[in-house]
Subunit: 184 residues, 2 copies
Amino acid sequence: MAERGVALNPEEGIQILERTPAVLDAWFRGLDDAWLEANEGAETFSPRDVLGHLIHGERTDWMPRLRLIREFGDTRPFEPFDRTGFLEHIHGRPVGDLLDEFARLRADNLAELATHPLDAAALAVRGRHPALGSVTVGQLLATWVTHDLNHLGQIARVMARRQTEAVGPWREYLGILEWKRAGG
Amino acid sequence: MAERGVALNPEEGIQILERTPAVLDAWFRGLDDAWLEANEGAETFSPRDVLGHLIHGERTDWMPRLRLIREFGDTRPFEPFDRTGFLEHIHGRPVGDLLDEFARLRADNLAELATHPLDAAALAVRGRHPALGSVTVGQLLATWVTHDLNHLGQIARVMARRQTEAVGPWREYLGILEWKRAGG
């Protein structure tokens, strides 16, 4: 168990990780493309892109990096994560299919995570990020959780901004319309 | 049907309104209080507070205002909405109970909304906001939708910020950790 304070309690983190697929399912399944394909301009993610990016993270980022740390510590840097590596993978596929894939991948990854020790000593083990340098297992786990939340917030913002003009004078009460873009 | 562009298509808006209770249910039910009670400091909302605030909006804000416009146009201003009017109502109640209440109230309000005309003429009818002045039915509907999204984004942000330190050097990749607080 991680200490309180700076570290994230892994059990709490897993509660978020296991819920994100169902949150997105409730939000996206059956929703019009007008919402799913909306974005904030060139090179920005639509809600559907975010789902693709999360799928790509399950396949290439979080658990592969944890496995690498477990095997090689910080002697071998992580593969760089391709923020847009999902584009071909999701092309032309129905959103229900993508939601199913994300749920399946996340469940598999959490089942594997449950086989790893997550006590204080395990969380302190260090790996090497190709750009950020030395990082710990605990930071990787906290980032996995926070990355989900980052993108849930991004989806809300992208959808909200469609109504920037439509809300008329209420705009000043809706802080989300002023949030800056988040990184991927 | 509203024109494309500035106005929100009411059918698209209703798609979001009818999904928000299920999104929150998937996110909050069974979740630790460490997540549900987290906030951003004094006078800020926790995720549980946001749920209370959304319940209060269903009871006193959106449909009551639409009814008032239908009956009195802009000759009678709306009742001011009490942003923290929910506090006593949610005190001590389990989150599952609050989720059930929100889902029930939202479903009832959308059933009533379906009995109102929402063509271009109906959306252009004006009411009077006590602080913002003249507003239209279309703006009220767009604000109801965007208010949901605003608070979904807020919940993601409040939960993300618990890990501001725990993510270590990944912080710079997580834009949500820098978003300013949104109004209620």
